[in-house]
């Protein structure tokens, strides 16, 4: 009975509780709230929401107020992150799994592993595609009969056979199937995402249309040539020569997808009657045959070549000579020596390699010819531009370089978490500490250069999307070029002028006297007044020396720049106490072009450089003399202790000199070098050492030197190494065996963290063509071209050219021209009555090529229309 009452009581209480929780049934609920809509302008909308019952809602807007948005000021200076922890993992599969698990944030190793790419994309990771390398099929052109050994037939000695290979191979198949989409078809040595391809994109497109996949045409051409060579087909349909099967020996590289490419090429050759001998070899095994071997031996016919192209290059004109002429740097091989280039072709390659043209238009003509010759002679045929991918967490933001991916020059300034400032980022690479770190001749491995660059700064930085330079510490620059040189300028931080003659002042530093440790002036070096082809004047920021300090606290000064200038020459001078045979050739080459340097002003720093060396872009012809020694930034006092160790013969900057003297190569971060450098620092403190005193003494006082060495000593005691940079992060800790290092944000770095945020993504244009689907032959026709980026009109000021190519119903090139600007993002292609009059009835194609100034990837789009009488 008691239990029954208890249960009933509990039920009553529960019912009361539930009833209490229920909302009032009939009273409508009125809520007044302010809804803030964020955007470029912020609006506040006061909304009255009436909730009657259940989910029925009525919303009434009472008032909308537009509020002025004051952007939140960026107060953070230097790097966005508090710490970056670099470590190593050699496996892309493992790295992708770790990214998915949130164990790491970035994997900065380019990979063409298609499965890993798919996994990364499916898991929602961010990826960036980068140019890595490009593949070709190299022909042994000796023959047509190998004389030295086998006496076999070499069909690839015949130009027509080589050219026909362009039709036999399906580049799309290689890019899409073999490379899993991580590649682009390729017909020229020019890399399809670099400026030279973009500048010649119309010509490229025209030529590419002449060499499509057409195995029947290939078979017809090759068969005709084989018969002309005396070969016959046997009953099995196989080619024979002197009663023996014509066997094509393929050297197939095994390290990457070239294995599948080699198999594909062999299959295609077998399909037209050749017998193949597939020799699978690693780089070193194949190198003995194709680089070191004699092509006359007939030990190979085809080689699946691969070349690295991971730095944005703005001038690839020299590649034609490099790849296709016996004047190549590879001229030491019998393969290249055997390249017979007709004089008119050689002239074109030579002019492009030596820049002996005078205008950009002339260069374009030469490029067009070289591209034609390249395909016509086909000493090698190009297959694909490979792309790699680098995966990273969606919560990471960084400016990616078209070539270097995540590890471009803007990495230190743009790497951050999307959702917050600061924090510790885990940045993983395939390896670390490959060689010792020293700025003069240390490691230039990508794995070491990336963290090094985060500790460095620069006079100018490379634009990640065009490869041009942008000012970082430099305020502006002037370039004066000899009249007639084909130099152009894109950005306004450089002013370009031409002069009939550029005289080098007598007091300009022109060479280095390593014995007396003073510069040799131009007046002393040259017996007569000398001239230079260009003069660059670089103006650094007025407050640079008051705001920039090295990581040990030492203020930056002109002495750091002068030290770098001295070291530019000294080790290559035979009479230098620090002479390094390995540097001699480099210094000699430098001196062959350099005419003079003048420090016009110490603070603010202004430096003039007179030289015969120039490139086609004014921005890239500016000499900054930033104290980067080639393998990292260096403060003069840091280099001074390295020099002392070099002078005493205990350490050597270069690997060659270290081997020769059987001493350690200088490492400023780890290993046996540190104890030696520490002792040298103590010596420097005791002597108050000023390196190259006869010259440096004018830029460094005894007090400066004492203060700097004291700072370095403190730095070493705290951080345990001597790597002192000037960039947004400093090297805090090094763990060589664990292959880990820690970079920490440098608090005194002066620039705001968002300085380079504008380069968050490449502004690759989208293009669309619209117009009449039917055109009357002989009548004028117009087509609209819309160029956009993220659905916004692409500013005309950022567009270099919008060109069109016309192909008739047979696919034959029928003309080209420029589209006219109507307004931002809108261009008009007009086909004249004469142009349409030359077309026959059928389906024609209008191909449009858009070339941007701010990103070097051209955009292609096409439109098909029908012509009728």
């Amino acid at each position: 009975m008691k239990k029954t009452i208890l249960v009933l009581a509990l039920l009553v209480i529960a019912a009361m509780a539930l009833a209490a929780c229920q909302p009032a049934a009939s009273e409508p609920e009125v809520v007044v709230e302010t809804v803030v809509v964020e955007g470029e302008t912020k609006t506040e909308t006061i909304v009255e929401t009436v909730v009657v019952e259940g989910e029925t809602k009525t919303e009434t807007i009472i008032e909308t107020v537009v509020v002025e948005v004051t952007p939140e000021p960026i107060v953070r200076s230097g790097g966005w992150l508090d710490r970056v922890v670099f470590s190593a993992d050699g496996s892309t599969d493992s790295a992708v799994a770790r990214l998915i698990a949130g164990d790491i944030d970035v994997y900065a190793q380019s990979s063409s592993n298609g499965e890993a790419y798919k996994t990364a994309v499916d898991a929602g990771l961010s990826t960036v595609q980068v140019a890595t390398s490009y593949n070709d099929l190299t022909f042994n052109t000796y023959g047509p009969v190998f004389t030295e050994s086998t006496g076999g037939l070499n069909p690839f000695a015949v130009r027509e056979v080589r050219e026909a290979m362009n039709w036999l191979l399906d580049r799309d198949y290689i890019a899409q199937e073999i490379m899993a989409g991580l590649a682009r078809p390729k017909w020229f040595s020019l890399i399809s995402i670099f400026p030279d391809y973009a500048n010649n994109a119309a010509k490229a497109k025209q030529l590419e249309s002449q060499y499509p996949y057409d195995p029947e045409k290939a078979n017809t051409v090759i068969s005709a040539q084989m018969e002309a060579l005396g070969a016959t087909k046997n009953a099995d349909g196989l080619w024979e020569y002197n009663g023996e099967p014509v066997t094509i020996i393929l050297l197939i590289r095994t390290e990457d997808e070239r294995r599948q490419i080699g198999d594909y090429v062999a299959n295609q050759l077998e399909s037209i009657g050749f017998t193949t001998d597939r020799q699978y070899k690693t780089s070193s095994e194949a190198s003995v045959l194709w680089v070191r071997g004699n092509v006359a031996d007939g030990l190979w016919h085809l080689y699946t070549g691969g070349w690295i192209g991971n730095v944005i290059s703005r001038d690839d004109a020299g590649d034609f000579q490099f790849f296709l002429s016996n004047k190549s740097a590879y001229g030491f091989t019998t393969l290249w020596q055997n390249y017979e280039v007709p004089p008119e072709v050689d002239e074109v390659y030579e002019a492009l390699a030596n820049s002996t043209f005078t205008t950009v238009a002339e260069r374009s003509e030469l490029m067009a010819k070289a591209m034609e010759y390249g395909l016509y002679w086909s000493n090698r045929i190009w297959l694909v531009d490979r792309a790699g991918f680098m995966p990273y967490s969606p919560n990471v933001s960084v400016s990616s370089d078209l070539a270097a991916g995540l590890t471009g020059t803007l990495l230190p300034y743009t790497l951050r978490f999307v959702d917050h400032e600061g924090g510790e980022m885990k940045f993983v690479q395939a390896d670390m500490f490959v060689e010792p770190w020293n700025p003069q001749a240390g490691s230039n491995w990508f794995y070491d250069a990336t963290p090094q660059r985060m500790t460095a700064d620069a006079g100018v930085l490379y634009d990640p999307f065009t490869g041009l330079t942008l000012p970082q510490r430099v305020d502006h620059a002037e370039l004066v070029a000899e009249e007639g040189l084909p130099i152009g300028v894109t950005y306004d931080w450089v002013s370009l002028e031409f002069a009939p003659e550029i005289v080098v002042p007598d007091d300009a530093w022109s060479d280095w006297d390593a014995v007396n440790q003073v510069f040799i002036t131009a007046g002393e070096r040259f017996t007569e007044t000398t001239t230079a082809k260009i003069k660059s004047t670089v103006y650094y920021e007025e407050d640079m020396f008051s705001k920039m300090t090295w990581h040990d606290g030492s203020p930056m000064s002109a002495a750091d720049f002068v030290m770098a200038m001295i070291m530019y020459f000294d080790q290559g001078k035979a009479d230098s106490p620090m002479y390094d045979e390995a540097q001699a050739g480099t210094v000699e080459s430098r001196l062959s072009a350099l005419k003079g340097i003048r420090i016009v002003s110490e603070d603010p720093l202004v430096i003039e450089t007179y030289t015969d060396g120039y490139v086609l872009d004014a921005e890239l012809s500016i000499s900054t003399w930033w104290p980067n020694y080639g393998y990292g930034d260096g403060a003069w006092h840091m280099m001074a202790i390295g020099n002392k160790a070099e002078l005493s013969g205990e350490l050597a900057y270069s690997a060659d000199k270290a081997d020769l003297g059987e001493v350690e190569q200088t490492s400023f971060i780890a290993g046996p070098s540190l104890e030696i450098l520490k002792a040298k620092l103590d010596e420097a403190i005791a002597e108050n050492f000023i390196p190259f005193a006869p010259t440096m003494g004018a830029f460094v006082t005894a007090d400066d030197a004492a203060a700097r060495y004291a700072n370095l000593k403190d730095w070493y005691q705290v951080n345990g190494h001597f790597w002192v940079g000037v960039g947004p992060y400093f090297l805090e800790k090094v763990f060589p065996i664990e292959k880990t290092l820690v970079l920490t944000r440098y608090q005194n770095y002066p620039d705001p963290a968002n300085k380079w945020s504008v380069f968050s993504e490449p502004r690759i244009a989208a293009a669309e063509v619209d117009g009449a689907a039917r055109v009357t032959i002989g009548a004028e026709a117009t087509f609209d071209v819309y160029v956009t980026f993220k659905d916004e009109a692409y500013p005309a000021s950022d567009i270099s050219t919008v060109k069109y190519l016309l192909f008739d119903a047979t696919g034959t090139f029928a003309g080209e021209g420029l589209a006219e600007l109507a307004e931002d993002g809108h261009y008009v292609v007009t086909l004249t009555a004469e142009q349409t009059g030359a077309l026959t009835a059928g389906s024609n194609k209008l191909e449009v090529v858009v070339v941007s100034k701010v990103v070097s990837i051209p955009t292609f789009t096409s439109f098909e229309f029908v012509t009728s009488e």
Binding site: D659, E738, T740
Partner: protein, 376 residues
């Protein structure tokens, strides 16, 4: 081997010789053994040098690689953009000459091979051709010494754990022949046909990628903890998966082998006799089974210790462990003969010394064995 196991009865029956002639005999034996082992080392090391250089063919490969590397290096270096093709060609040729000279390629391979041999035998390990140690040194000694501790820690722990646990379990099973556990463990022995790295991949997938309990690889966290205790704990955490993989790949077969070995000894007449006399199980194991099998156990243990040298290439790679195995693999890939020879010669000396000392250890632990016995 000139050591020989003699029946106990014979050993007892042999009349004692004078101590001086016994010492002379031992000295002669030591001398002979040392010469023989040294010759073995010489032959082994020289063969390694020849194989590592493919009889001198590697010179051709290296020359080709140098030319290719430097030509491309000059071509791609932006610093040289302003040079004419002729100036670049000249620079390239000079750089190639310096590099070939540095690597000693201007000296005939035959002469170099004997220099390598002499240096190796005198343990003057010299400098590597291309490899650097993690701290940036080219001294082969440092390249090896820097990688040795991680290898010893991982494979020392794995192998010692494996050795003693399989010994212990095998002994227990041999006493419970035919039991469920015996059948189970023997049934699992085919699992040992799978290499450690293969288990490693699965273990990483399960415990790191899916469950996220343990790290994917590496030796310690990145960055490594600052305190010693923290470092050791981090190291232990990172060792769990590789040690487990290593154990999984070998333990069942090891148990099977030792168990069978102990079973043979367990069925000896003197063991049966002891059992009938009522000797306890523990005493039976210790005195009647383990003691006569001690030379075999010591031999196996010695080889376990030697086996630590060199690590395991693929397992280290899978677990991203900075050990000697990976260093050896890189050295082979780079045709870095001094490093290959350096690691090999130490291995060879360790083997030779182990063989040498095992003779004496056998004599110490087994009264039936006499060093330098003529075998009569």
């Amino acid at each position: 081997m000139s050591t020989e196991v003699q029946p106990l009865v014979n050993a007892e029956a042999t009349p004692k010789k004078k101590s001086s002639s016994g010492s002379l005999r031992i000295l002669q034996y030591i001398g002979f053994r040392l010469v023989l082992l040294f010759l073995t080392v010489v032959v082994g090391v020289y063969l390694t040098i020849l194989i590592a250089n493919m009889g001198g063919f590697v010179d051709q490969i290296m020359r080709g690689q140098i030319r290719e590397r430097i030509t491309l290096q000059v071509q791609m270096n932006r610093t040289y953009d302003t040079l004419t093709p002729e100036a670049r060609s000249k620079l390239t040729s000079e750089m190639i000459a310096v590099e070939e000279d540095r690597l000693g390629l201007n000296q005939p391979f035959a002469i170099r091979s004997f220099r390598y041999l002499k240096n190796a035998l005198t343990l003057d390990l010299g400098r590597s051709l291309n490899m650097t140690s993690d701290t940036g040194s080219k001294q082969v000694r440092l390249i090896i010494l820097e990688r040795l501790p991680p290898t010893l820690v991982l494979f020392g722990a794995s192998n010692l754990l494996l050795f003693f646990s399989s010994l212990y379990i095998a002994l227990a099973l041999s006493r419970k022949y035919g039991s469920f556990m015996d059948k189970l463990l023997i049934g699992l022995s085919p699992l040992s046909s799978v290499p450690a790295w293969f288990y490693g991949i699965f273990l990483i997938l399960i415990f790191a990628a899916m469950l996220r309990w343990l790290p994917f690889g590496g030796m310690v966290d990145a960055p490594p903890p600052e305190t010693t205790i923290g470092y050791i704990l981090s190291l232990l955490k990172h060792m769990i998966l590789p040690v487990f993989a290593w154990m999984l790949s070998s333990i069942f077969l090891n148990i099977y082998g030792w168990r069978t070995f102990f079973l043979i000894y367990s069925s000896e007449d003197y063991v049966e006799m002891a059992k009938m006399k009522g000797v306890t199980d523990r005493e039976l194991e210790r005195k009647y089974i383990l003691r006569p099998t001690l030379p075999n156990i010591i031999t196996a243990f010695a080889f376990v210790l030697i086996g630590l040298w060199g690590g395991a290439i693929i397992t280290e790679t899978v677990f991203n462990w900075p050990g000697l195995g990976q260093a050896y693999y890189h050295a082979v890939g780079l045709y870095d003969t001094p490093v290959v020879v350096g690691i090999t010669v130490i291995y060879a000396y360790l083997y030779a010394l182990t063989f040498f000392f095992l003779d004496f250890i056998y004599a110490l632990v087994d009264p039936r064995v006499k060093v330098g016995s003529s075998g009569n």
